[in-house]
């Protein structure tokens, strides 16, 4: 009997640990049938558009800014460039599916850890097609869950206006990166906030109207 009690306690402890570790992103949401296998992000998909943003970056209490520029150069490729307000190019990346190329980066920023962080952020931001594996819903949002290597992306779409409003990049147990979008017209993101959870990094992008 005592053995059984111990076994039961161990199992419940594991269950408790397991359930408290599971990612909370869609907690309280109802699971639904997957309605479409692919979710298409609308915000950086127009080849004719120059996507130009004023960027404010806050990293471990330090703030700096610049201009963030994105251009879709062909069906599968985006250019992502960051310059100072004066126009000096700080870095210039090319992203094509899972390929990532550094065209240029100034010496002061040429650090592997920084490049890898930016690489993950921009790949998430500029990814156009998400394979949907599960679907959830509550009163306000439809949520598409999409596998991303060993991690997942949760894509939140407003039910009222069908706008992509949030993307959560998470492991099985933890949210890593949040991207929030504000969009007037559903094709262009006017404001984007990229928030990291494991490092103190926040990138705010505000669309420039020329």
């Amino acid at each position: 009997m005592q053995k059984l009690m111990i076994r039961f306690s161990i199992i419940s402890l594991f269950l408790l640990l397991f359930s408290s570790c599971a990612v909370k992103t869609v907690e309280g949401y109802d699971k639904k049938e997957v309605t479409s296998e692919i979710f298409k992000s609308p915000y950086f998909s127009d080849k004719n558009e120059d996507y130009v943003y004023k960027a404010s970056i806050s990293v471990y209490g330090n703030n700096f800014g610049g201009i963030f520029i994105v251009k879709k150069t062909n069906e599968t490729t985006h250019r992502a460039v960051f310059t100072t307000e004066f126009g000096n190019t700080l870095f210039d990346f090319e992203i094509s599916g899972n390929d990532f190329k550094v065209n240029h980066i100034i010496e002061e920023l040429d650090r592997k850890i920084l490049i890898n962080t930016l690489k993950r952020d921009f790949m998430l931001l500029l990814k156009e097609n998400f394979q949907v594996s599960e679907q959830f819903e509550n009163e306000m949002f439809k949520v598409y869950k999409s596998p991303d290597n060993k991690r997942f992306n949760y894509i939140f779409v407003n039910k009222s206006d069908e706008k992509l409003s949030k993307l959560v990049h998470a492991t099985n147990s933890k949210e890593k990166i949040n991207i929030e979008y504000l969009s007037e017209n559903n094709t262009l993101a006017d404001k984007i906030i990229i928030q990291h959870h494991n490092i103190k990094l926040r990138i705010e992008l505000n669309k420039l109207i020329n």
């Binding site: 004719n48 120059d50 130009v52 004023k54 404010s56 330090n62 703030n63 700096f64 800014g65 201009i67 520029i69 251009k71 150069t73 250019r79 460039v81 310059t83 307000e85 004066f86 126009g87 000096n88 190019t89 210039d92 240029h104 100034i106 010496e107 002061e108 505000n206 420039l208 109207i209 020329n210």
Partner: protein
């Protein structure tokens, strides 16, 4: 006949491009003297500016604009007003940034690069850039402008700036256009308008 027409056409187009002529030695001396004299007599300078950032892969240049204030010996404020609020002050070897209310200071002492960029920016405003130790300089003229083209000698600066071009308007001997060309050949062009020289500028303008 065909050939001579071609040659004529080539000359014609060459003529268009060669509106920019090299200055003679005596012209260079005269030009430098007058710019230095103007710079010496310039205690303050305030001007509007329009900045165009050109990148080959974009459909159109990125346009920003604002105001610039300069007071001797070395206080400089760049204030972007459109399409965003951003102001940067160079003062007492420090850089003060006000990014739509978010403030940040950089001690230039720590950044040789910033110091060089600062000199480049101040120099492109007051024209005090004829430093043969820092740049290889060539001189050109057109109907309206005297033009200096500066190639940095410093290896660190070369990584950021391939060439700097300053257009001095012939009437006032001050910079009316600056073009900074990057190693990739993308460039930033700044056009100065409504220049006011030696108006009273309060020091408080340089508190960012």
């Amino acid at each position: 006949m065909k050939n001579s027409l071609l040659i004529f056409m080539m000359f014609l187009s060459f003529g268009v491009f060669s509106q920019e002529q090299k200055m003679s030695e005596s012209e260079i001396t005269a030009f430098k003297n007058s710019v230095n004299a103007t710079a010496k007599n310039t205690k303050t300078l305030s001007t509007d500016f329009t900045q165009l950032k050109h990148m080959d892969f974009l459909s159109k240049d990125i346009e920003t604009s604002g105001k610039m204030n300069f007071k001797t010996p070395n206080m400089l404020q760049w204030q972007y007003v459109k399409p965003y609020q951003y102001s940067i002050v160079f003062k007492n070897n420090k850089i003060f940034i006000n990014d739509a209310g978010k403030k940040n200071n950089i001690d230039k002492g720590n950044s040789k690069m910033f110091d060089k960029l600062n000199k480049l920016i101040v120099g492109s405003v007051n024209g005090n850039m004829f430093d043969e130790n820092e740049f290889t300089i060539s001189y050109f003229k057109t109907k309206d402008f005297n033009i200096t083209k500066l190639l940095p000698k410093d290896a660190a600066l070369k990584k950021y700036v391939k060439q700097m071009e300053l257009y001095f308007d012939k009437t006032g001997n001050t910079v009316s256009q600056a073009k900074m060309i990057e190693p990739s050949n993308d460039y930033t062009k700044i056009i100065f308008k409504n220049k006011i020289i030696n108006a009273k500028i309060d020091d408080s303008i340089f508190n960012n």
